[in-house]
């Protein structure tokens, strides 16, 4: 089984997939509450990457530290969440109140994206004392603690990211089902007018949903920045496409399906491409005498393929698939 990827690669893929899952979940959240498809979402996540860089540069400059896995996500959650709230209250809501429709609001999020990318790039350059407007990489991966385990060396963030994703999802689930405000959020998602009539301040619910969405993105961005080599705020332009692909695969109508969709897309992009590459270059090509070529640059082809398959066979996404029907079919078989 020489074509199976090594443990480090698998963990790196799972970590990336977890980050995409968190991002897609947040994207779906603000979409189901406020009907805004937020194209600045990945850049809001970059606020997390920015916070991490700041911590590495100013606080933990002596070397890797495990403390950073608490401070970076927590600060990122708060800061990115705060920006998302600012974006909703100061920009999106007034625009919506002026009678702008779904598409106009999408344009507005594009504009916010441009603005935020440039602000972050400026701040990053200013903090690092670079005085020419060029893209500089965050280059923080060497501050990630290394774990020696089971014969491989892992970056600690590969383990922290999936754990953070699981914990945050559990916490979010607890919030939605066990707290009064969380139930009100679910009620508002289903029927905002009725929720208002019951006494729920739906605008408050929307604001909180933006905070959570931004916060999740911030956590994902801060931890993901460890494993992205040479990443810069502009990279959000590439990541956002995969985030949307994840939400589309999930169906955009459901928060948890967004998480699953993002995870699947992330896994396909990294692990799927890697497996295919190994399979072709180490088994198929040598056996058949074909020329080998690297497929690592084709990871977006995986998300494209997924999106197209979903479009053809399940336009409502995985959330729209009648899973019960298939389960019953399988049960009947056995």
């Amino acid at each position: 089984m020489g074509f199976l990827p090594n443990g480090t690669f698998v963990m790196a893929s799972i970590a990336y997939a977890s980050a995409l899952g968190l991002l897609s979940m947040g994207l779906s959240l603000t979409f189901v509450t406020t009907r805004i498809a937020n194209f600045a979402h990945a850049t809001i996540g970059m606020i997390g990457a920015f916070v991490l860089t700041l911590l590495v540069d100013r606080v933990y400059y002596t070397g890797p530290s495990y403390q950073i896995f608490i401070t970076a996500p927590v600060l990122s959650f708060l800061l990115a969440g705060a920006f998302a709230v600012f974006m909703y209250i100061v920009i999106m809501k007034p625009l919506a109140d002026r009678g702008n429709g779904v598409t106009e609001l999408m344009i507005a999020t594009f504009a916010v994206d441009i603005i935020l990318i440039n602000i972050l790039s400026y701040l990053l350059n200013a903090i690092r004392g670079v005085h020419i407007p060029k893209l500089i990489g965050l280059n923080v991966s060497s501050w990630d603690a290394r774990i020696h385990c089971c014969g491989v060396i892992l970056q600690a963030s590969y383990i922290v990211l999936p754990i953070a994703a699981i914990l945050l999802t559990l916490a979010f689930h607890f919030f939605l089902t066990k707290t009064k405000f969380g139930v009100a959020m679910r009620a508002t998602i289903e029927n905002p007018d009725l929720a208002e009539v019951m006494g729920v301040n739906t605008n408050m619910v929307y604001t909180v949903s933006w905070f959570i969405s931004g916060g999740l993105a911030g956590v994902a961005g801060s931890l993901l920045a460890f494993s992205l080599k040479d990443t810069s705020p502009n990279d959000s332009a590439l990541i956002i496409v995969s985030v949307f692909a994840g939400s589309i695969v999930g169906g955009l109508s459901h928060v948890y399906w967004g998480l699953i969709g993002g995870f699947i897309v992330g896994l396909m992009e990294k692990l799927g491409t890697g497996l295919l590459d190994n399979f072709y270059n180490q088994l198929l090509a040598p056996a058949l005498g074909w020329t080998s070529f690297s497929m690592i640059n084709y990871e977006k082809l995986m998300s494209l393929g997924l999106v197209v398959v979903i479009l053809l066979f399940a336009p409502e996404g995985l959330a729209g698939v009648d899973w019960g029907k298939y389960l019953r079919k399988i049960k009947r078989r056995w």
């Binding site: 009064k180 139930v183 009620a187 289903e190 029927n191 007018d193 009725l194 208002e196 009539v197 019951m198």
Partner: protein, 238 residues
């Protein structure tokens, strides 16, 4: 002064002007029945009072206070309640969560007690507390909506066709409940009723809406006995 006073209300949805200069009052311990043909603006009237349709002009005075511009969730807090005609329960929440949502504005320590009281009245819900509301039948949902109305003790209750889709017996129970609200608890009630005869028999005052305008205002008895209007708009034969 009347408990609820609606003064020359003009309302609609965005650009669609539906209600024109609607005036009426409701007192404590009184049922106002609103009747009219389909599309005449009955539901819109209730929504306008609650603030979930657009109010262009006019005044809504509740308990001596002008509440026209208050957001809906504040109105819920100060004692208004409204049972919408359709989508009046949260189908994706279970029955218990629905009842908790209905008690959203109550102090947390009161919620359990209220829920027990309401479940005593709507016994069938006890067995379904953990079921999603979408698994209930249409009539059961209507009754759940009614139960939700009773969760917090509002002073003004607005029902939009609460008996629609119910069996005659269940419909009678709902109407009896509404009478009980008026007689025993002294609440102010606005009742929109498709079944004009049933509604007018229990109502004190009545309002006939036609094309967004009031074409009759008086006691329910007067309207019931008005042969012309009854035949023309309410299907009350002879």
């Amino acid at each position: 002064m009347a408990f609820l006073e609606v003064k020359s209300l003009n309302a609609g949805y965005g650009r669609f002007h539906i209600l024109f200069d609607v005036d009426f009052t409701v007192n404590m311990g009184e049922i106002l029945v609103v009747v009219g043909p389909n599309g005449s603006g009955k539901s819109t009237t209730l929504k306008a009072i609650f603030g979930i349709s657009t109010v262009y002009s006019g005044q809504i005075i509740f308990d001596g206070e002008d509440i026209t511009k208050l957001p809906a969730h504040i109105k819920a807090k100060i004692g208004l309640a409204y049972l919408p005609q359709t989508s009046n329960v949260f189908t994706e929440l279970n029955v218990e969560e629905n009842l908790r949502m209905a008690g959203y504005t109550l102090p947390p320590e009161d919620v359990e007690d209220r829920m027990q009281e309401v479940l005593e009245i709507f016994e069938f819900l006890k067995a379904k507390l953990k079921d999603k509301a979408r698994t209930l039948s249409g009539g059961q949902r209507q009754l759940l909506g009614m139960a939700m109305m009773l969760m917090r003790k509002p002073d003004l209750l607005m029902f939009d066709e609460p008996t629609a889709g119910l069996s005659p017996k269940a419909a009678r129970d709902v109407i009896d409940k509404i009478i009980w609200l008026r007689d025993e608890l002294g609440k102010a009630v606005i009742l929109v009723e498709q079944n004009a005869k049933l509604g007018l028999e229990v109502g004190d005052n009545a309002l006939l809406l036609v094309s967004g305008r009031i074409s009759f205002k008086g006691t329910a008895r007067e309207l019931l006995e008005n042969k012309d209007l009854g035949k023309l708009y309410l299907g009350l034969a002879k």
